[in-house]
């Protein structure tokens, strides 16, 4: 079981998820967030928070997004922790709309 951030986060980075993470396991780069699977406790509190439904847990991960399991695991530990909500990236609202949310 693992919880991951997928491509919908890219260029949005709303970070609503970060406020409810009980263990501060979100990391960020210029584009999006990633979950450190060694820290995440799979509580799934973050999943309903994401305005673009970018977060999936274990059994729910669509097949075409399974590559994100590895991406999260690889990138998260090398990036800074996102402990507090940040401003969304410029253009996030437009991207959200384009994604159909």
């Amino acid at each position: 079981m693992t919880t991951i951030v997928t491509d919908n986060c890219k260029d949005c980075r709303f970070t609503d998820c970060v406020t409810v993470c009980p263990v501060a396991c979100f990391h960020y780069d210029d584009d999006m967030l990633y979950i450190d699977p060694d820290v995440c406790i799979d509580c799934s509190a973050c999943i309903p928070e994401c305005p673009v439904q970018a977060i999936y847990e274990g059994d729910d991960i669509p097949e075409d997004k399974e590559n994100w399991i590895e991406i999260n695991a690889e990138r998260a530990p090398n990036l800074p922790v996102c402990e507090e909500q940040m401003d969304p990236l410029p253009g996030a609202e437009e991207r959200k709309e384009a994604l159909g949310f």
Partner: protein
Amino acid sequence: MTNLGTDQNPLLVAIVGSGPSGFYAAEALIKSEVKVKVDVLERLPSPFGLVRSGVAPDHQKLKQAIKLYEKIAESPDFNLIANVTVGTDISVKELRDAYHAIIFTCGAESDRKLGVPGEDLKGSYTATEFVGWYNGHPDYRDREFDLSHDIAVIIGQGNVAADVSRILSKTIDELKHTDIAQHALDALAESKIKEIHVIGRRGPAQAKFTPKELREFGELSDCEPVVLEQDLLLNPESEKELEEKSNISSKKIYDLFCEFSKREPDTAKSKKCFFSFLMSPKELIGDTTLERIIFEKNKLSGESFKQSARGTGETIELETGILFRSIGYRGIPVEGVPFNESWGTIPNDKGRVTDSENNVVDQLYTAGWIKRGPSGIIGTNRACSVETVECLIQDLEKLNSSTKKSGAKAIYSKLDIKSIRHINFEDWKKVDTSEIELGEVKDKPREKYTSIHEMLSVIK
């Protein structure tokens, strides 16, 4: 007068309750730009609240939230004063004298009542008692649950109801390597329960489980989930609810129910867990002990997302000797702190405690379930505590006092006079280490001490 929140005049805060909300409040204070000293008061010798005694023993990964709390506790500005009950050992007045601010994060320790005749019959239990019992909470270790019946009923369809039902549905092999209390494991080994009925007052589109919790019922080694296909018919309002993109969690739950209803029943499994909907208990019947429950069938009325259950007058009976009520928690009032009786919470504005006229009460703050009611999961409390601490820091100037506050020192001297033993985080770590050692022998993550006396004797 020196500014508050400086090295010369640190902000002294008492936090009442060492569950997740208490730790997140402490974290937010310690990470803030002001100099703080935080004392967390806890009535048990063990910290971590519902992460220790609420989160189910077969959900060990969730309990790893404790790792973060341990990190918070390492801060030199953090101090635990455990085994001390606010309201009896120390009054709120004494806390107000000793600290600049007090944050109540004491959770919702009591249950909401069904409010139907027969509720107090023997065999009718609260989920809280059962959860506390299998988790080794000292308050509930001596409870006895008669598990000799074929049929158990759980009223409520939230995650606590799911936990109770799952623990009853699992085999001993599925539980014995968790940190479930030994007394519970022994009693569950003798359980005769074959049917578990999880009953909700609203429909399958309104069940409040998280999809993850519900999914586990499809993966049990000796229990089959059962949902009747006819129970999954939706009214147009519920259909509309499930079509709403943001309501994806309810959609997943509904889809899981559909999946359960289509399963080829595995006849090799000896237990069944039924999920039923649109039923409210009307009366619990029995002489002194529960024998059967009369339910009234409901239908939903109102617009989408605001649908409520209304009785139809049609009743059905279910024979059962054991019932667990899991319809929500409520807080317990603390003397000297305003309390909203109908909600079971401390009235507040974003965490600032308010009185009956909605005026802010100086010095008093609240966070977590006692602030907003029993909703959300562990992490939800983080955002909640952060909001409260932001308000507290905004009030810094107002919180400065002309009289000197002496914080923990004042509390310790009061406790010493009353010969009340208080323990700190280092003391707790001794209990923690000992529990883990005891667990190792049994291949369990830990074997909990279930009495305060036992814990205190480990500390010496």
